[in-house]
């Protein structure tokens, strides 16, 4: 086996040194009844060529986003990732290194995490950020738990514009952790009156902008209402590129900002791995979950980076930790920080502008299609259409024509009576011909 350096002769020699007759003897503590006596019904090892063949065949049965006019978003976005990002992420010293608990031989990882934290803080307009979470949805759940710890209250209010998956994740963990959740109704036009629902029982209000329907939300009055009632405002985003062009949550009074970082540096990957972003105010840092890289000095006085404030974490506090999370999303955070370094402020701003321009161009074309209504007054690179008929069926028909038109709201909110709504996203990856293909496939379908 190509992956196993030990030969049978090596094994013999090693067994002799240990002083046992065979490897089985080393499993002597295991009850005999639990040791397999015959091989499992699994195929034997395969050559590299054969593994490639099997997986390539599976891959060929999927429609890759880059091969068709592609408008699917709702929390994950098709963006171009520079070749240098993927090259660097595959450097042995990044790919195959361990969590940087030994700072002397991990400065590479620690410095990029420190840079990542700073970038996330700047992007969100917050004071401090952690070294990443699993993804945007789990980061949102952790934000709610953090708000509970900070306010010593245990009830969250979720906006009707929050991504339904995110809301479900919060509800699931809240129910099982025996915390309370209040839900607003789905809010396709972004007009809900959240403020009227805010009272002194809430630990936090969770609002997304751009919301799942694409609407930009002004968080400032909501933040003020929260703070009047001793609650925290948790702001959520699922499209990090939007922050290049819109007012950041930090500038609107958010206390905790969480979001999905996939769209900078990371592939779609059918949903994962992604990278959760998490930022807050300095005063809350000791209740923040996740890892943190901090600056220090080494014995020679040189600037050095090190994981810090680990007393919040499970391997020190065990049943009193801020979270049970043990890993972050290191390599995805690396991809994010490299891509954002490549972009810089100038590139991110331009990229966001191009996204917005493409979405506006598409919206203008679609608004003119008879029977189709654009629900959004504002949006960044995604918007909601009301279509004449079942959006899911329309998407399926258009897929058969080679156009992936978007996400039917009924897939995210089944049974909510929103079957005629379609979420449509457009990024820099869409060219003129993609938009034309969308419009013509839609017209044929309606």
């Amino acid at each position: 086996m190509r992956y196993h350096p030990l030969s049978d002769a090596d094994r013999e020699a090693m067994l002799a040194a240990i002083g046992v007759a065979d490897i089985e003897a080393l499993y002597a503590d295991a009850p005999a009844s639990t040791l397999l006596t015959s091989p499992l019904d699994l195929p034997p090892h395969k050559s590299e060529m054969e593994v490639e063949r099997v997986l390539s065949r599976l891959a060929a049965r999927n429609v890759a986003a880059g091969r068709v006019p592609f408008f699917v978003g709702a929390g994950a976005y098709k963006h171009h990732v520079p070749a240098s990002v993927d090259h660097l992420v595959q450097r042995s010293e990044f790919l195959t290194s361990y969590t940087p608990y030994q700072p002397e031989i991990s400065q590479g990882t620690l410095q990029y995490l420190f840079e990542f934290q700073t970038q996330v803080a700047l992007l969100t307009g917050m004071e401090v950020a952690n070294a990443s979470m699993y993804d945007g949805s789990t980061a949102t759940a952790e934000a709610v738990l953090m708000a509970h710890r900070l306010t010593k209250r245990r009830k969250a209010l979720l906006s009707g514009g929050l991504h339904p998956h995110y809301a479900e994740v919060v509800r699931t963990i809240s129910r099982l952790a025996e915390d309370a959740v209040a839900d607003m109704a789905p809010d396709p036009r972004g007009v809900e009156d959240l403020i009227a629902q805010i009272d002194d029982t809430l630990s936090c209000v969770v609002v997304q902008t751009p919301d799942v329907f694409g609407n930009l939300r002004d968080l400032t009055p909501i933040a003020e209402a929260c703070h009047r009632h001793g609650a925290l405002l948790v702001a959520v985003f699922t499209e990090a590129v939007s922050l290049g062009l819109v007012t950041p949550p930090g500038a609107m009074g958010a206390d905790i900002v969480v979001g999905e970082g996939q769209s900078i540096g990371n592939a779609l990957n059918f949903g994962g791995p992604y990278v959760g972003l998490f930022a807050t105010r300095n005063e809350f840092v000791r209740q923040m979950p996740g890892r943190l890289a901090g600056e220090s000095v080494d014995a020679d006085g040189r600037r050095s980076f090190v994981l810090t404030l680990s007393t919040r974490e499970q391997h020190i506090r065990r049943d009193k930790a801020t979270s049970n999370i043990c890993t972050n999303s290191g390599l995805c955070a690396l991809a994010f920080t490299i891509h954002l370094t490549l972009l810089g402020e100038a590139g991110l701003t331009k990229l966001a502008r191009l996204n917005h321009a493409n979405a506006v161009a598409l919206a203008e074309m679609l608004e003119k299609v008879p029977g189709v209504e654009l629900l959004n007054r504002t949006f960044f690179n995604e918007f909601t259409l009301r279509v004449p008929g079942d959006a899911a069926a329309i998407v399926e028909t258009m897929a058969a024509k080679g156009v992936l038109a978007g996400v039917p709201v009924s897939r995210l909110l089944p049974g909510a009576g929103l079957d005629d709504l379609l979420l449509v996203a457009s990024t820099e990856a869409n060219a003129d011909e993609d938009r034309a293909a969308f419009v013509s496939a839609l017209k044929e379908t309606l």
Partner: protein, 484 residues
């Protein structure tokens, strides 16, 4: 040469990406267009390459050397797996595109599920947990849901956990509102059934046990413990962190496990990546199967469908936005296909063999807390042998850096004084193990002969000498600030 931060070397106007300028258009941002600059630095592409390549060269990695990290399992990461994860038809697909356009992806997930269920002899699987700790949460949520379904939610509020457990276990239990009752270990480092029986009661929801345990030992009472737990109406959560010692050799389902997460990076070699991303699928017994989270896959003749809505099922709900760590599934499946059933078993056996070989090489110079007995995939030493030398476990570990090695796991498990937990994995050649043992013997000799400097001052030949962790925690500097 020191490597500046991007905030020091970058410029606001510099960019390593060329973006086309759109034709003029009317924005639809309402009043929410950004008005203030972000403050982000940019680097051109040549500068970016150099920055990260230089940073990378300050890191240790498996590709460059052995990682004797007990309980963390740093093994070889085949590049085939990286290549497969980047196949366009697997990397460039969206979690919400029509399932009719992603049948290959679902088939891949089903295939991985089949392997994991077969290797564990369990009946259902939750693929979506994002990492081991997330898998623990998933498994304990299923248990809590099952208890609630039986109407015992109000009474069963205790989880049994041995003192040697990973910190994630009590943290997970606490997160779900359980209180933790510690089960003591016997003098031989294992949990005996008597201790469990003693701790059991009508208030117990579950036991969380790691097997092989964190001392590197197989829990020999495992079957009896499972029986006792089940008899008491509780569930058996097995921490799968050490599954790599027994995969293909023994099946947790045969121990009576109700739920176990599988760290795909530890057992099936998805890259550790400097701390993530992980993936922690959870296998479930028949008793817990109905409570598995959404989404899950259903086969409908030729067609695979995704059940994404928990309504109308007993599913406890959703753990994360989409379907789990697909990129990691691809890598793990590539690993499994490449190894085959035979290779997986051989990997486990070689891992155990290598750990025992290291044990045999060091047993006369270092001390073992539970005597010199066969271990599983990792071997545990304590610091009794360092007594009076003035060298602590930490110093010894840091001295390993100067010899070209990453330190072993230290001070874990907590139950052992000055613990040193060594896991060589199946990826090391005999020559590599021999050199490692010889180096540690040499260090041990130096420690005993009083060459304290070599330890207290270590590391001396690394990119950094010891870093002041106290300063970092006392005066946290967690981001760059202008004018620093």
């Amino acid at each position: 040469q020191e490597e500046a931060l991007i905030f020091e070397s970058g410029r606001r106007e510099a960019s390593g990406v060329d973006v086309d300028e759109p034709p003029p258009f009317a924005p639809r941002l309402g009043s929410l267009a950004r008005t203030e600059p972000i403050g982000l630095p940019g680097l051109t592409e040549p500068e970016t390459m150099r920055h990260y390549v230089r940073l990378s060269r300050k890191n240790y990695s498996i590709d460059a050397g052995l990682y004797p990290l007990g309980s963390c399992t740093m093994k070889h990461n085949p590049r085939l797996n990286e290549k497969m994860a980047r196949l366009e038809g697997l990397a460039d697909i969206h979690p919400l595109q029509p399932v009719s356009t992603a049948q290959g992806a679902l088939e891949l997930m089903q295939t991985l599920a089949h392997w994991l269920l077969t290797l564990t002899n369990t009946q259902a699987i939750a693929l979506s947990p994002k990492a081991g700790a997330h898998g623990e949460l998933c498994g304990m949520m299923a248990i809590k849901s099952a208890i609630a379904a039986k109407g015992e939610g109000a009474t069963r509020k205790v989880v049994l956990i041995p003192q040697s457990a990973h910190g994630t276990n009590p943290a997970t239990a606490a997160l779900l509102g359980f209180s933790v009752r510690v089960v003591p270990a016997a003098a031989d480092g294992t949990v005996r059934v008597a201790a469990v029986t003693e701790a059991l009661g009508p208030d117990v929801a579950a036991i969380m046990l790691t097997n092989p345990n964190t001392c590197g030992l197989f829990e020999r009472d495992i079957v009896e413990i499972a029986d006792a737990v089940h008899e008491a109406g509780a569930y058996f959560y097995c921490d799968g962190a050490n599954f790599n010692a027994i995969a293909g050799v023994a099946r947790p389902g045969d121990f009576g496990v109700d739920a176990m997460h599988i760290n795909l990076h530890k057992t099936f070699s998805t890259p550790h990546g400097g701390g993530g991303p992980g993936a922690g699928p959870v296998v479930l017994s028949q008793r817990l199967a109905p409570f598995a989270p959404v989404p899950f896959i259903r086969r409908d003749g030729e067609r695979l469908t995704l059940v994404e809505d928990a309504a109308g099922t007993q599913s406890f709900g959703r753990l994360t936005a989409f379907h789990g760590q697909m990129g990691m599934f691809v890598r793990a499946l590539a690993y499994l296909l490449a190894h085959g059933g035979d290779g997986v078993a051989q990997a486990s056996k070689d891992a155990v063999l290598s750990a025992n070989y290291v044990r045999a090489g060091l047993r006369d110079v270092m001390t073992q807390p539970f005597g010199d007995r066969a271990c599983m995939h990792e071997v545990l030493f304590d610091d009794a042998w360092l007594k009076g030398s003035g060298v602590a476990t930490l110093d010894f570990a840091k001295a390993m850096i100067d010899e070209g090695y990453h330190p072993m796991t230290m001070y874990f498990p907590l139950v052992v004084h000055g613990a040193m937990l060594i896991e060589p994995t199946e990826s090391e050649s005999k020559a590599s193990l021999d050199l490692f043992v010889a180096t540690l013997r040499d260090l041990a000799r130096a420690a005993r002969e009083g060459d304290k400097e070599r330890f207290i001052e270590a590391p001396r030949f690394a990119p950094r000498r010891r870093v002041d962790e106290t300063l970092a925690a006392r005066k946290p500097v967690l981001r760059w600030e202008a004018g620093d």
